[in-house]
Amino acid sequence: MSNDEIFAAAYREHYWAVSRYVARRLDGRTSEVEEVVAEVFTVAWRRRTDLPATPLPWLYGVARNCLANAVRGQGRRRRLVDRLGNDETAHGRQVVASPDTEPPGAWVHEALARLTPADQEVLRLTAWEELAVDEVAVALDCGTRAAAMRLHRARRRLRTEIDRIRPALAADVNSPKEHGHA
């Protein structure tokens, strides 16, 4: 297969996983996801000679950088929101079931939000993208040992924050799983 064919296969296989990755980090601003994902794959196309045999963690790494740019590119993001303002899927409705209920996992998100961005990302990659430590290392562009250490420390800090928020924690937690990669 040529580089272009390998890229096209990765695009088709991982488009939705990358979309979920982006959507999880845009805090419900669903209308912006499509444009950021387009940018992720445009950057990945430019760097397609670097595409590894297991491309998804690498694509997550590209997406992480694109999201950082998207946060800076306020004007561009605004334009997209304007364009997609009537999108029925927009505005976080996949997060909030109804105006009268607390968003699922809101307090866990609150605990997560108290951590540093680096801690948050290693935890999200592990829990939401379900990456193994060696895959986290690819996504974060660091060594496996460093990734394992970051995860260990981040877990401990998350635990501390959870204990602060909910000392008496209910144990019945659903665990939807990520599929289709790795």
Binding site: F7, G28, H91, R93, P104, A127, R155, N174, P176
Partner: protein, 324 residues
């Protein structure tokens, strides 16, 4: 007790088996973008073309000249980003709390009333890594009918320069079009969504705050900056009545962080009172009607340069002006 990773898994906001972004065939837009990448059209194709020209500059001088000649009217001009509104020298700033009082007084008779849909003129900057920023002026009108259907009309126009060609973007390629060029005109089927910003906004400031939080940032308490973003979303969906205008004014006054700077004339020629919020990387300026306290506009100006995007300090990245 579940461990912290289990708890985090349970709080996944976009699970793979959820209602959105689930695995499956690509949509039309995703397929089109893949084709653009594979076959060299779109922004990346342009970049590659430029690079090839630079490799063979001497040999293709004549060809380049011809290409520039033929490109003529479709060539995107180098347009400087719009400058921020000027505060009138010597004008007296009106505190936002006073503006909220004005809005509350104006709402005493309950008119005008709330209407679903919007009428907004925007100037939005588009950026790329290899082209200078461009600003796209767009007018958008959304009207809802009694049967819960709605229409949306989007045209390219710049009311500051009526009748003159304007820059527009079709299929990712910016080009000059005539004033009033219809970008899209769509009718949407019935929708009875009961979630903000589609549900009716309340006119109690406390309830409105909760509504706006759900609109934009459901998991965290709104900062003033986020509140301004949420107000923008609200105004992009609703034409507020006087009671809702008063609630917005009170909410913003109570939020703090908005500094009154004085009188301005907005891009539609309307008099306004301006309030500034300085944040990281940009400054937001809220423009309010001095007679009614209604929000007239919101301007977002860069306060730090982003050389990789061609963004300079003082460039207006986004400007929205709402009308009834």
């Amino acid at each position: 007790m579940p461990d912290e990773l289990d708890l985090l898994r349970g709080a996944n906001p976009v699970p793979a088996d959820g209602p959105h972004f689930g695995d499956g065939p690509l949509g039309h837009d995703a397929e089109r973008r893949l084709n653009q990448l594979l076959h060299g059209s779109g922004p990346f194709g342009r970049r590659r073309t430029r690079w090839m020209w630079s490799l063979a500059t001497v040999a293709v001088v004549a060809v380049t000249a011809l290409a520039l000649l033929l490109a003529g009217p479709d060539t995107v001009p180098a347009v400087a980003a719009p400058r921020p509104l000027l505060v009138q020298a010597g004008s007296t700033p009106v505190p936002l709390a006073r503006m909220a009082e004005i809005a509350e007084a104006a709402a005493a008779d309950g008119s005008p009333t709330l209407r679903k849909g919007t009428h907004v003129q925007t100037w939005s900057m588009g950026m790329s890594e290899d082209e200078p920023p461009i600003t796209l002026p767009v007018e958008r009108v959304v009207r809802w009918r009694a049967d819960a259907t709605h229409t949306e009309l989007v045209v390219a126009t710049d009311p500051r320069h009526p009748g003159r060609p304007v820059l527009s973007e079709g299929d990712g390629q910016p080009r000059m079009v005539e004033d009033g060029h219809v970008i899209s005109e769509q009718t949407f089927g019935p929708s009875w969504s009961d979630a903000p910003p589609e549900s009716t906004p309340p006119h109690d400031p406390g309830l409105l705050k909760a509504y706006l939080q759900e609109t934009q940032y459901p998991s965290t308490t709104l900062t003033t900056r986020e509140l301004l973003d949420a107000v923008r979303v609200l105004l992009d969906h609703w034409t507020l009545g006087a009671p809702e205008d008063a609630a917005v004014a009170r909410l913003l006054a109570d939020a703090g962080g908005l500094r009154p700077v004085g009188r301005v004339t907005d891009r539609l020629g309307r008099p306004g009172q301006a309030y500034v919020h300085d944040g990281q990387g940009s400054r937001k300026m809220l423009i309010m009607d001095p007679a009614t306290g209604a929000v007239l506009g919101l301007e977002d100006t860069a306060t730090s340069a982003e050389p990789e995007w061609g963004l300079k300090v003082g460039d207006v990245m986004d400007y929205s002006a709402w009308m009834r």
